[in-house]
């Protein structure tokens, strides 16, 4: 097993195991192996906690704004989840509700999972922007996200585009 004796590994290899564990990319057997290891190894447990903090901070800075034709485009810099416990959800809310521009596109291309809390947050962003004489559009959701948006009727309320220029132009109509 690749993860055996993880603290005997070279530091960078150990960090890869930890990073995969934190991002849930290890298979179940490797997860068991790593957990069995850190439960008995203080050094690896501490390394994991430090990396977890690093990952939490990365997650918090995962959003970026840019301007396109007078419209604010909000993007995720890395893959993100809009689920009840994901930090991105709170960040998204803060970013949209606390900025003054009310013509907003949210680029969903890096959103890998969304649940009812995430859909609710998109809805409250939409309500906030409309209330402030603005509008919200969504850009490039992955097929499974698009399916959810369609099923819940959210895509009929918040227009969804696959081309950014088209989305920007739609604000002029």
């Amino acid at each position: 097993m690749e993860e055996r004796m993880v603290c005997k590994k070279e530091a960078i290899e150990r960090e890869q195991v930890i990073a995969k564990y934190l991002s849930r990319s290890l298979d179940s057997e490797a997860v068991e192996e790593f957990e069995g290891h850190y439960l008995g190894c203080d050094e690896c447990f501490d390394e994991m906690r430090i990396s977890e903090r690093l990952a939490a901070d990365l997650r918090a800075s995962n959003l970026a704004w840019n301007q396109n034709g007078g419209v604010s485009v909000l993007r995720f810099k890395a893959n993100a989840e809009l689920t009840h416990s994901a930090q991105e959800l709170e960040e998204l809310r803060k970013e949209v509700l606390e900025q003054s521009d009310t013509r907003v596109i949210i680029d969903l291309s890096r959103v890998t999972r969304i649940d009812s809390a995430g859909l609710g947050q998109l809805m409250s962003c939409y309500s906030h922007l409309v209330k402030n004489r603005g509008a919200l559009k969504m850009l490039n959701p992955a097929p499974e996200i698009r399916k959810l948006l369609d099923m819940t009727g959210l895509s009929s309320l918040i227009p969804t585009f696959h081309d950014e220029q088209e989305a920007v132009s739609s604000f002029k109509n």
Partner: protein, 171 residues
């Protein structure tokens, strides 16, 4: 085996990580599952069932895994106990915990270049392979190592300070 209070608290903390990873942060029974794992573990220790102390982590892991499996079976059998039980999340901590945690670390990432942050995101948030990241950013192993350990060092210092502060509060 060291059964001093700090050692037990350390085991409790580690078990809490494992349990949270598997049942999610929204589960109200996390502390019960951790406690049950500890009780079973100490019972086994008293009966001298743990022969090889080097395999202590693996043994504790097995105990905790069984506790989680039994819990899942029970919840499945008796769904009325907690119909609101949330699904396991993506392994991230609740917001309050994260903000509390971030208070103590002086946001070390702000000092990093955007390129370094993007590299770290690929590793920690997307779980990508080192080779893949190096290829994308046309960087060598040594350069990757510098980015990674420079960032970790910032967090290690903050973590060390926090541990020190917590231990002074405990005493």
């Amino acid at each position: 085996m060291d059964l001093s209070e700090p050692s037990i608290e350390r085991l409790r903390l580690k078990l809490r990580y494992k349990v949270l990873y598997h049942v999610g942060h929204g589960c109200a029974d996390v502390d019960d599952l951790v406690q049950e794992s500890l009780v079973r573990f100490f019972r086994a220790e008293q009966r001298q069932l743990i022969r090889n102390t080097e395999e202590l982590g693996a043994f504790l892991n097995g105990v905790c895994r069984n506790v989680i499996l039994e819990y899942r079976r029970r919840v499945k059998r008796e769904p009325n106990i907690d119909p609101e039980m949330p699904l396991p999340d993506a392994g991230v901590r609740p917001e309050a915990e994260i903000f509390e945690m971030r208070d103590s670390i002086d946001n070390g990432l702000q000092e990093l270049a955007e390129r370094d942050r993007a590299i770290l995101r690929s590793l920690y948030l997307e779980g990508r392979e080192k080779e893949d990241i190096c290829r994308e950013w046309t960087m060598t192993d040594a350069q990757f190592r510098v980015v990674l350990f420079r960032a970790k060092e910032r967090f290690r210092r903050a973590y060390g300070m926090e541990m020190k502060r917590n231990s002074s509060v405990d005493h």
